[in-house]
Amino acid sequence: MRLLTRCIGVLAWILFTGGLRLSEESLLLRTIAQALQKRDAFFAHCSLIWDAQIEVIDYPLEHPEAFLKGLEQWDQQRPDAEITPEAKEEFLRKARQPHRCRYQTTITVMRSGAITSLKSEEGGACEGGSIKKVPIYLLYNDEQGYGMIYGTSIHAGSPDAKPQLWIFRHSSPAPLHSTSETQFVYPSDWVFLANFSVLNLAGLSRRKAWRVVKVTDSEVVLEADLNGSAVYASLRRFRVGLSKQHGYAPSWLEEYSPTRITANNKVIYQSFPAIKIRVLAWRKMESFWMPQRWERVRQIGKQLRTGVRLSHQEKRIIGLRQIARGKQEVMRQFPSGTDVLDFRLGGTDIAYGDVGVVPEERVVSYRWDGHLPPLDRLEQMARQQAQTQGWRPHPMVRWVLGSVQWGVPLLLIAVGGYW
């Protein structure tokens, strides 16, 4: 009787919750995870050189006059400065025509166990058909939980600025972490550049966020949402197609940005992907498949009722030039004497774009001498920095300084009274 009750209970659970389907789904996900993990481990010690053909298109501004008006309103707060009529004309002329730039670059990726690095030359702002390339060098150490970003314009905004090295503290896997995103290399890029497991993208696997949305004879389509909780600050939807004939290696990936959030907290995503990656040709390394040639399109635009209006599009065709497997040491080859801004004392998983939230006294600046100071040494350096750069006077001295603003007029009044 008890057995019968239990059987009826299990049957009811299966009927009402779709438990069988869930079991199938989780089984499939487990199979995929294992396959991708093996593949990830296979490529854990390798160096890859990619050739990239890049085309950048900045489309005309939708309402350049309104944009200019906004600029002028801001400008009116400084009555002594102005936007000249010539500058306005120049702005409107440029804003009304598209800008198209093309350039080539080489991307060198090295994986050595927990350490991953990427070296490249990336283009800055596209104007008048020309684009200035700036060197970038990223290095992540999963074991020690840090990320290093070296570059010029990526930090300072101007391609002519002095290169700097910024250092962050990250939780694993650092390159795929959503806070590791820079304007040139996105976490989803690493899946194709370095053959990381796509399931680990942005910590989605750990959060069991992946769900099966479609299974065909040739592929499995998975989807996952970053819902903005915990360390993930931005809302994002990922959709990936895993090729069955290529051992569940990702054959395409799409990343969607939110367009709005409804009153019942439902996120509505844009109908077009902000990033779209597609494998164009495959290559087999022993029993594992990897992309030989792939395309990545990044687009910024606005969702309209009648369609999509793009403002920026960047298209990359990336082809494998060379791959070498084997253990090798990834060197921290940053130029000696480079200015370093170390944000590790500011917290773990501070996003690259959010460095402004780190308190000034927790940002340690020093010159790169080839060695990364450990955290306890960094604490010492922060204390020394506070003593030398930001001299904190004795409270008594601070009180005297504060009272200077009252002291000067009081002195004058007292002297006048005496005279």
């Binding site: 002594d80 400065a81 102005e82 010539e86 300084l401 504060g402 004058l412 009044i413 002297v415 006048g416």
Partner: protein, 382 residues
């Protein structure tokens, strides 16, 4: 009327007190002993030099100054620096010869450096890397080591008056004075600061009165006009700058709009607008600058300091007018006061401690020059 706490009323009362002392001193009601004057003059000189040095250092290395206590010291002192510099030179010129010489040499040197760096800036050589650029139709308005072209124009007026005063003397001072007149006029033109142009124009007209008693003044005045004309022919864009004022120039419209709000602001905030007393952040921001030195005192410190500073400026201008009527040499220096008094109607140099120290120190110097009670009124022979 906005509610005001004791803390927000303290600064306006202190400002009124300091201005009151200044007025009494300029009127001759306060007569310190030489020993007392020396002590105070040197003490105030130290404060002015310290504040101006921090300001210049802040331009060259803003990060260091902001991070160190120098920034705190500057923030505590800068709002008083115009009163301190005024009293400093007033006491020195009247009573402390060695402080007067020191201030003359340091002030003159800084003034010449400010003028030369402005000329270099006009030639494309920037000594201070400031991302903010002041331009007019593609022309970059120079300002050298000073903050903006407006301050550069104001300091140009002071240099012009200094040059005039030397050019009516003899020997090397005459030659140097004539050069200084030309250099300063060129700087005033090149800054494209219409407030400085108006100041120069007003002072030129008044200066014509002085030529009746100081014939030697004709030459520097002609050099002024000639330099201005030659510069405007070489760089005719300046004429468009003048015409632009009548063509919906946003900077003119903004000034008019801000000034029209002044009476209402003064009634609403009789003790000045502070962050605490302002109804909205917009009102506090609007009180940041009326782009008029006199009105700014009213908006920032309230009715009493506003009235007192007008009183002080009134005394000073009245004295300068008396110098001119009596044909005194001090009248030539006074032309600098007239020019700068007109100029600051359209600007407020208080943010730039270096320009403020030079301008206010100049006013203090002229305020210490005495009207000769027995001097005949030479311009009115009858």
């Amino acid at each position: 009327m906005a509610p005001s706490s004791l803390a927000t009323m303290t600064v306006p009362f202190l400002m009124a007190g300091a201005l009151g002392v200044l007025i009494l001193r300029v009127c001759g009601r306060l007569e310190p002993t030489v020993r007392e004057a020396r002590l105070l003059a040197w003490g105030l000189t130290f404060l002015v030099v310290l504040t101006a040095t921090i300001a210049v250092w802040g331009d060259l290395n803003p990060e260091f100054v902001m991070r160190s206590s120098l920034g705190t010291i500057h923030n505590a002192l800068y709002r008083w620096i115009w009163i301190v510099a005024f009293l400093m030179t007033n006491l020195s010129v009247a009573l402390v010869a060695n402080a007067r010489r020191f201030q003359g040499v340091v002030g003159g040197t800084v003034l010449v450096i400010a003028l030369i760096t402005t000329l270099l800036h006009a030639a494309g050589i920037r000594l201070i890397d400031d991302p903010l650029v002041y331009s007019f139709r593609g022309y970059y308005r120079p300002h050298g080591i000073l903050w903006t072209p407006l301050e550069a124009g104001l300091v140009g007026l002071l240099g012009w008056a200094w040059g005039l005063a030397w050019s009516v003397q003899s020997g090397w001072r005459r030659i140097g004075g004539l050069y200084l007149v030309g250099l300063s006029t060129a700087v005033v033109y090149l800054t494209f600061s219409r407030s400085a142009w108006m100041g120069l124009g007003g002072a030129l007209l008044v200066g014509l009165l002085l030529t009746r008693t100081h014939k030697a003044l004709w030459l520097p005045l002609i050099i002024t006009l000639a330099t201005f004309l030659v510069a405007s022919v070489a760089l005719p864009l300046g004429w468009q700058r003048g015409v632009y004022a009548a063509q919906d120039d946003p900077s003119v419209q903004n000034r008019l709009q801000l000034w029209s709000q002044f009476p209402a602001q003064l009634i609403r905030y009789p003790f000045g607008v502070t962050e605490e007393s302002a109804d909205t952040i917009e009102q506090y921001m609007a009180a940041g600058s009326m782009v008029n030195f006199y009105l700014d005192i009213g908006v920032q410190y309230g009715v009493l300091p506003f009235v007192l500073q007008l009183w002080l400026v009134g005394i000073l201008l009245k004295r300068v007018w008396a110098f001119i009527l009596q044909g005194q040499m001090a009248g030539v220096w006074g032309l600098g006061v007239i020019a700068s008094a007109i100029c600051v109607i359209f600007m407020n140099p208080s943010g730039d401690s270096l320009a403020t120290a030079l301008w206010s120190g100049f006013w203090g110097m002229v305020s210490a020059m005495e009207v000769k009670p027995d001097a005949p009124a030479r311009l009115h022979a009858d």
